[in-house]
């Protein structure tokens, strides 16, 4: 088990090191992140301003709403899903996957670990920007305690990990179909609509349980709500839901990979 862990830890470390070469790309992403946050800050400020900035909408004050939004945007920006689903998809289609299959690791777990490292590298740049912007726009989150930093960070990391288990499965669909981009597009739009812009409390009552039990909640609303409105009970709920979903998707991913690898068609050289 230890050897197994060390193997994937090494994949993580090596991918992280390799990522250093993309620092300039991440700086540009950070600029785009800044602009996006500014636009949404203005929008929510206007909405809350209509009824006075001390207004509470669906249980969220303006400060909490901005914290929620910045965390969801941070998660969305950290997970470069389009690029990475394309990477898996291209490797399957052009047969380059063959050169990774002759190594003693599971390709699906290798890719998740490698992407996780890439996301963590982005997080190093984007997280401080997010926190500075928060303080600049709305100040510290209400009822903040130092004890909530670790659980919130853990939840953010679990969210990123869960995203990769799902997006990697979408990439693996290329074993059967020519282009998995439409699936990426559909899933990412669901994530946007049901988690990125609004907390779950903003949706109709009948829809809320469906969202809460969906993986989208564990990816977006869960960790963002936790930061905006921390409680140990919510942390337990979100962390359990993230862990269970990650476990389920890893099993599904390994299953899909085991079925798909029979379909590898690597042409000669």
């Amino acid at each position: 088990m230890m050897k197994w862990f060390n193997k994937y830890l090494s994949v993580f470390k090596t991918s992280f090191k390799q990522e250093k070469d993309t620092t300039l790309n991440i700086v540009f992403r950070a600029v785009s992140f800044l602009i996006m946050i500014y636009i949404f800050f203005q929008l929510w400020n206007y909405i809350y301003g209509q009824n006075g900035t001390s207004q509470i909408i669906k249980g969220y004050s303006l400060e909490q709403m901005i914290w929620y939004l910045i965390i969801t945007e941070l998660l969305y920006y950290t997970c470069r899903y389009g690029l990475i689903v394309k990477e898996i998809s291209d490797e399957i289609k052009n047969g380059n996957i063959a050169y990774k299959l002759n190594k003693p690791y599971n390709y699906y777990l290798y890719q998740i670990t490698s992407f996780m490292a890439k996301s963590c590298f982005s997080l190093i740049f984007l997280l401080p920007i997010a926190v500075i912007m928060e303080f600049g726009f709305v100040g510290i989150v209400p009822s903040f305690t130092w004890a909530q930093i670790f659980p919130c960070l853990l939840s953010v990391l679990l969210s990123t990990f869960l995203s990769w288990t799902i997006y990697s499965i979408i990439g693996l669909i290329s074993f059967w179909i020519q282009d998995s981009t439409p699936f990426t597009w559909i899933f990412s739009k669901f994530v946007m609509l049901l988690g990125l812009f609004f907390p779950v409390e903003f949706f109709p009552n009948w829809l809320q349980p469906f969202i809460k039990y969906s993986p989208i909640y564990s990816i977006m609303s869960g960790p963002a709500s936790l930061v905006a409105n921390f409680s140990w009970k919510l942390f337990a709920q979100v962390a359990i839901s993230q862990t269970v979903w990650a476990f389920v998707f890893i099993l599904v991913g390994i299953g899909i990979y085991n079925l798909g690898k029979r379909r590898v068609t690597a042409n000669g050289g």
Partner: protein, 329 residues
């Protein structure tokens, strides 16, 4: 001991027919016709421990597909494969710990990282203890003479240096069997020579079984003792390099320069390949005729210059490839 055993191996690729123009619309809702291509067609062979085998053939012959099935990357359509006692498609991960692969057309190293970082990564994925790994890197970097650039990013290395690093990476876990898929492609003659010597050294001194594919006949001639020629998915020849040369190098190329222009009559075993003024290029099949017969076709006094050479191995292999294609036609 047999390291590789292949029995009646087949691999077919199925694709769907693509229609153009009006045909495309006609077949929009119809089941598309399937195109079945036999990439490997019922081949059987075995490889003994310590052998150095050349597995060659023209493009699309099925050699890389066979290698990919032997390493567990591709699943065979039918037939049996045993490599080091493992079934590659069912025990790929176990097998991968005992074999190494070097692909000339595809880098397996992380290009932004140094060769050393790559070796440490390879060591960890093959579960090599740190102390043992460092000793192994030290040993191999001396043998392959890569110490001067071991800490440079791979992307800054020349192709020859990269290939050396690829080879070191493939040897760290002490594989019993090494697959080389066109490792000398794109290398200059000196780098090629160095690499060939290193492969020979691995085979002779470390006792590693080598399976080598290349389009460069020089590689095969220097490195391998046995050759399998595959074409259209079938084995056309499986013989030792010695026998191949003995049986197929029976044709001599004689180039003569005579004092005057004469008509050389072709006869069985003697074929004029080229005639220009007083220069003649003649092929003599030594199984049918002899040099005396050829010399009898002109007077010794007329001879200004003569050179005799054997048919290059490359031409022999080309003939075998062509023979296979003619059979197919």
């Amino acid at each position: 001991m047999k390291i590789i055993e292949v029995k009646n191996l087949q691999k077919t690729f199925i694709s769907k027919k693509k229609y153009k123009g009006k045909e495309k619309w006609k077949h929009l809702f119809k089941k598309k016709e399937k195109i079945i291509k036999k990439a490997v067609d019922d081949i059987s062979f075995s490889v003994e421990e310590g052998e150095s085998l050349a597995f060659i053939g023209p493009n699309g012959a099925g050699k890389s597909t066979t290698i990919k099935m032997l390493t567990g990357i591709l699943y065979p359509t039918s037939g049996e494969i045993k490599v080091l006692g493992y079934n590659p498609s069912k025990e790929r991960i176990k097998l991968s710990k005992e074999i190494g692969c070097v692909f000339g057309q595809k880098e397996q190293l992380w290009v932004h990282l140094s060769a050393m970082d790559n070796f440490l990564f390879v060591g960890s994925i093959y579960d090599i203890p740190k102390k043992e790994l460092l000793e192994r890197i030290e040993e191999l970097s001396s043998v392959f003479e890569i110490k001067d650039f071991i800490n440079q990013p791979v992307k800054s290395l020349s192709l020859g240096q990269r290939m050396k690093c690829e080879m070191v990476a493939s040897l760290l876990h002490k594989p019993k069997l090494l697959f080389f898929d066109e490792p000398t492609i794109g290398l200059d003659p000196i780098a090629k020579e160095t690499l060939r010597n290193l492969v020979k050294k691995m085979n002779k001194e470390l006792g590693i079984t080598i399976l080598f594919t290349s389009h460069d006949v020089g590689d095969i001639e220097e490195v391998c003792k046995r050759v399998i020629i595959i074409n259209n998915g079938k084995i056309m020849l499986d013989d030792s390099m010695k026998n191949l040369k003995y049986h197929y190098l029976n044709k001599k190329i004689v180039e003569v320069n005579l004092k005057k222009n004469i008509k050389i009559k072709e006869k069985e075993g003697i074929k004029v390949l080229k005639a220009k003024d007083t220069m003649y290029k003649i092929e003599v099949d030594m199984n049918i005729t002899s040099m005396d017969e050829l010399m009898g076709l002109f007077k010794a006094d007329d001879l200004q210059d003569i050179s005799i050479s054997t048919t290059p191995l490359e031409d022999i292999i080309k003939t075998i490839y062509r023979g296979a294609n003619d059979e197919m036609v």
